[in-house]
Symmetry: C2
Subunit: 214 residues, 2 copies
């Protein structure tokens, strides 16, 4: 009604902030509830904007989800670039890499859960994303160079395989997040205090290093 447009609040346009706000909210909710479990209405409600805006910028649920996934991967790449593995002797570099991987996963549980959700859906969406492939392949390439360096210096034995090693490192770091709920439920929280996490980190590092060293 024209008569009560006085009562309407005024608002300012701020597309970027709105988009970001939606993305962040959606990330949290997808990570918490999974793709099917997440409700567009929940996302919209927790946003500072409206449901209509979610669709306006992200088309539909699937698109929103894919955008969330890609944004999460983009962050990893940024973090990895700061590692500077080349600046250390191979053995030390590997220790740093394992530690970094452990910490990164620990500090970004939403990211890890998103991947988990993606796996439950047979990684269908991942399949279509170039951004995501790129991030991961560059991680393997870096590890390959590291192994080569370590072998040539006589620090590492000569049979290390980059992909297998990546698998081994990643498995514990991912599991540490993905299965925390069930682990805690069954065995208590001891492993997930700061102290417990330090012990686990050391355990992984020692276990992997002994496998790699000459």
């Amino acid at each position: 009604m024209v008569a009560d447009n006085i009562r309407r609040r005024k608002w300012q346009q701020n597309p970027d902030a709105v988009k970001n706000n939606i993305l962040e909210t959606a990330t949290a909710i997808f990570a918490k509830d999974g793709f099917s479990g997440a409700r567009m209405d929940d996302i919209a409600r927790q946003t500072e904007t409206s449901k209509r805006m979610v669709y306006y910028y992200f088309t539909d649920k699937k698109q929103l989800y894919i955008t969330v996934l890609e944004a999460a991967y983009a962050k990893v790449r940024a973090a990895e670039n700061e590692l500077n593995l080349e600046g250390y002797p191979a053995g030390e570099a590997l220790i740093r890499l394992i530690g970094f991987t452990f910490d990164y996963h620990r500090n970004h549980p939403d990211f890890v859960r998103l991947i988990q959700i993606e796996n439950i859906h047979q990684a269908r969406h991942l399949a279509t994303s170039d951004i995501i492939s790129a991030v991961n392949l560059s991680a393997i390439a870096a590890l390959e160079r590291l192994i080569k360096r370590g072998s040539e210096a006589g620090e590492f034995h000569s049979n290390n395989d980059a992909l297998e090693l990546h698998w081994l490192i990643t498995s514990s770091c991912v599991f540490n997040i993905t299965n925390r709920a069930s682990f805690q439920q069954l065995y208590g929280a001891n492993l997930f205090t700061d102290d417990g996490q330090d012990r686990l980190k050391k355990l992984i590092i020692s276990s992997i290093m002994q496998t790699v060293l000459a």
Copy 2:
């Protein structure tokens, strides 16, 4: 139930078979689509009976899901009992345990995915199940005895912690299944052929054994 190439006017009661059939179907579908993603209609359709029966025996979706989870855990317990770890020297027993864990997860991907789904939902349902706690605590107890035996025999060093070790073993074995889709998508199938899986199994065993041995 009855194969009906003839129009079936009569039917036979077979409660147990019907229940089992529903459970097996539901297990597969929950494992494939997650709790929220699974559709009761899908489950009913893939069953040899009707939707009505699903609700008749299992009340609602949640109850059905919990029953599926518990049945999966009950199977693990049965398998574990056949391991007979006490019959071997500690080192050899541990190698067998790791190998068994790897193989069991590999051969029961649905089981692993169910746990994963449960974790996405913060292990809420797991919390309410006594059956499931029991299975897991007994696994830790067995490992504790094994470590004690190994330490006393001088095979293992003296600082091994059962829970940490269980965590380390489980992490790789679980990850091997849960993240297969994304791993394969990104790096190809090499690690998941029979040959690749053998290599990974050996890798885990060697990596863990070096950590545990004196």
